[in-house]
Amino acid sequence: MVRRAFLSNLQPFWTNPVIVRDMRVRMRGTRAFWNQAAYLGLLSCIAVFGYSISTKLDNGTQIDPISVQRQLQQFYYFIFMTLAGLITIIAPALTAASIVSERKLQTFDLLVTTPMTAMQMLTGKLISTIAFIVLLLVLSIPASALCIILGGSTISDVMQSYAILLIDGVLLSAIGLSFSCSAKQHINAIMATYGAIILLFIVCMALFSISAAAFFTGGAGGHSAGPALLAFIDLIPFCGAVAPGMSVGIFGLTIPAWVATAIVATVLIRLILSGAALRLGMYGPGLTASFRRQILLLTLIGLFIVGQSLVLFFHIPVQIGGYTTDIIGQITFVITGTAVLALSTFFLPALFVPVADEDGPPDQVVQGRFNVLKSFSADHSGAFVYFEIWLFVALASIVAGIVCPSGASLAMSRFGGMMRSSSSSINLIPLVMVAIYCYIYFSGMGFLYWSIARRAAWLANSSAMAKTISFLLFAFIMALPFAVLGLQMQAMGSDSPNPFTHGLLRFFWLLYPYTTSAASHKIAFAWSAFSLYGAAAALLGVVIYPFWLNVVPGAVGAGRKRSKKTAKAA
C-alpha cells in the first residue's frame, strides 16, 4: 500500500508525456546520427589539436618526467575546458528555446488545456535536456579517456569533472528554462539566459574569492579543507571541471567539493523551477491575487531571515578586557526579532485567510480526508507557504555552515534565543540537526496558523468576518504567554518557584515564531525543544483544522452551506 503510494508519486517522472515526446523526437532519423558523428569528429580534432599544443614534444630533445606530467595535465585541462564550453553554450540554449518554441508553434495553449501541471511540464523539459547533456558527455568519453591513458589525470578526477559538468549543465538548463517561460522570442530568452549565466559566474567568482582570501590569509583554524564557500567555484563549469579533488569542510566534516556544489545547485534549481512554474501561471486561470500577495510577503520574510542570518554570521564579537561584547549581534537580533514577531502576529494569520476564501478548497483535502503528501505540492493551498519558509531557513543554515562552520551554530543559537553568553558555553550541535529542528518548528507553526485561518474561513460568512475571527484566535494564542508570565511573576513573588508554571511559560513562549529557547542556556536542549514544540503546534493545528468534518472547507461559510460540488458528490 505504502509502496504503491510511493510509486504513484514517482510515476509522473517516468511517464511524463513531455519527456517521452522529446526523447522520441530528438533522436529521430539520420540527422541525429550525423550530428553525433560530427560532434565526435570535432572532439577528435580538438583532442589532436590540444595534444599538439599542450605537449610541445620535439623528437630530439630530452624532457624530464615532471614537465611531461605538467604538459599532459594541460591536455586534460584543454579537453575539459572544451567540454565546459560546449555545456555552457548548448545546455541553456536547449531549454531557453523550449517553452518559447511551444508558444511559437502554438502548441502551448494545447498543453495548458490538458491537466498537466506547470511543474510537470518544466521537469519534463529539464529531464529531457539532462538526457541530452548526458549523451554529449558520454560521447566525449573517448577524448577524456586519452587523459587517463596518457597519464594526464586519474579516473577519479575525470569522473568528478564529469559530475561537476553534469550538475552545472542541469543548473544552466534550469536557468534557460526559467527565461523561456517569460520570453516572447527565442532570441530574448537566449540573450537573457546567457546574461544571467554571466552574472551567476561573477557572483560565484566573488564568493570564491572572498572565501579563498579568508582561507589563505586569515588562517584555516586547523581545518585541512577549505571553507565550503569555495565550492561555489564549481558552479562555473570552466573552473569546476578542471579543479577536481577539491574538498571543503562543513562542521569539521570534509566532503568533496562537488557534493557541496550538488547541494547548492539542487536548492537553486528547485527555486528556479518554482519561479518558472509561477510565471507559466498554470495553477489555474492565472495566479489568484491572494496567492501572489502571499508569495511576495513570504519571499520578503525569507530574504529578511537570510539577511539577518548573514549579518549574524559575518560579525565578529569584540573582546574588551575579558568581556566579549556582542553589540552587533544583540542589536541585529533584537531589532529583527521584534520586527518578525510583530510581522507574524499581525500579518501571518491574515495572510492565510484570503487563500481560504478566494482560491477554493485545498488540494490536500481529498473528499474530506487530509493527504499529507499533497501538502508538499506547490500550490495555493499546499504547504508551499511554509515549505518556502523552510527552504529559506535551510538555505540560511547551509550558507551558515558554508561560511563559518563554527560560527554557524553560534549564530543559529542566536536565532533561537537572545544568548548573551560567550561562545565557549554553547554546546555546538550538528547543522543538519538544526535544519531538521527548524523544519519541524516552522512547518508546525505554519500549519498552526494555516489551520486557524481555515477554521475561521469555515466559520465565517464573509472574508472580513473570517479575518476578524482568525485575528482574534491568533491574538488569543499570542496573549497566552503573557497570562502565564503573570502566573510566573506571582510564583516568583513567593519563595518557592513553581516548576509547573515555569515549564508552561516556556511552552507558550514557543508559540511565537522566532522566539524560542529564551529561557534556556543549553542550546542542544533548546533546539530539540524547538522541534518538539513545532510538532505540538502541528498537532494543535490538526485539532483546529476542520478537515475531520467531512466537508470540504473551501469557500467562506462552507460550514453553513455546502458548496455545489460537495452537495452533488453527496
Binding site: 522520441r24 502554438q106 498543453l111 488545456t113 490538458t114 491537466p115 489555474g284 460540488k565
Partner: protein
Amino acid sequence: MLVLNNLRKVYGTLTAVEGTSLTLLPGDIFGFIGPNGAGKTTTIKMLATLISPTSGTASIDGIDVIAHPLEVRPLIGYMPDSFGLYDDIKAWEYLDFFASAYRVPKADRPSIIENVLELTDLTTKKDAYVQTLSRGMQQRLCLAKCLVHDPKVLLLDEPASGLDPRARVEIKELISELGRMGKTIIVSSHILPELADFCNKIGIMERGKMLVSDRVESIVQRLQPSKKLAIKALGALDGIRLALDSYPEVTGVTVIDENSYSLLIDFSGDTTAQCVLLRALIEGGHQISSFHETRMDLEDVFLRVTTGSVQ
C-alpha cells in the same frame, strides 16, 4: 452541460466580450458566428480555462471553470483556430502524447488512438509524420487530439478555416457525428454557410455582444414575419403581377429575372392562403412551372442582425 452567465472580459478600455449568457445541453451543436474580432475566440478561450473572465461565471458539467480549471480541463476538448503540431512526430505519437497528458492509462491508449483515427478517417496516416499531412488532415488530427480523453464538451475555434471544399464537408460531417454521440459542441466561424447545415443552435456576436442566440428555426421565424414565395412561370409575368395585386396578403413583388420569368413575393398569409393563391393563379390560366417557399438562410439572418461595423 455548459452554462455561461453574464461572462465578461475587458482589456483596459476595450470590452472584448460583453455579458454573454448561454445554456447548452448534451448533443447541442452551437454555431458561434461573428466577424473577425467579434469576441468569439475570447469567449472560447475563457471556457477553455486559458484566460480568466473579468466578471461573470461559466460552468461545465456543474463545475465552475474559473474556480476549478484543473477539474474542468479533462472535460473539454479544445481546438484553437491556429493550432500547433510538433515537427518530427508521427500522427499516433502526437495523439499518444496528448492521451498521456490527459492521463489516459497507458494500456488503453493504443485502442483509443485506433478509434479516434478511424473516426477522423486517418487510420492510413497513423505512421505518417504530422508535417507531411495535408491541411485538412492536420485539422482532423487536431480534432482527433481533442477526442482522446473522451471529453463531454468540444470547443472548436474555426475548425474549417483554410480548408478546401471537400475537406470542409468532411470536417462538418465529423462534427455532426460527434453531436449525435451526445457531445456538447461549440463551433465558431466567420463564414456562415459552414455552420448552417449542422448546428441546431446559433449565436451571433458582434463587437463583443451576443446579438441573438437561440435555435436556428426560432431565430429565422423571429426575424422573418412574412414568407417569401418564389414563382416561376412560362411566358410573360405581367398577367401574374396583375393577378397578385388583388391579394391583400401579397405585400411586395420583386422580379428576379425577366428572361427566366421568375418572381419573388412577400406573402403574409398562412399555408391555406398560400394554397388559395396557387389555385387562383392556375385557374386564372397562368402557366406556373414552379411555386415554392424560400427559406431565409443564416446569411440573411446574419446580415439582418449585424451592422457590419467590425470586419
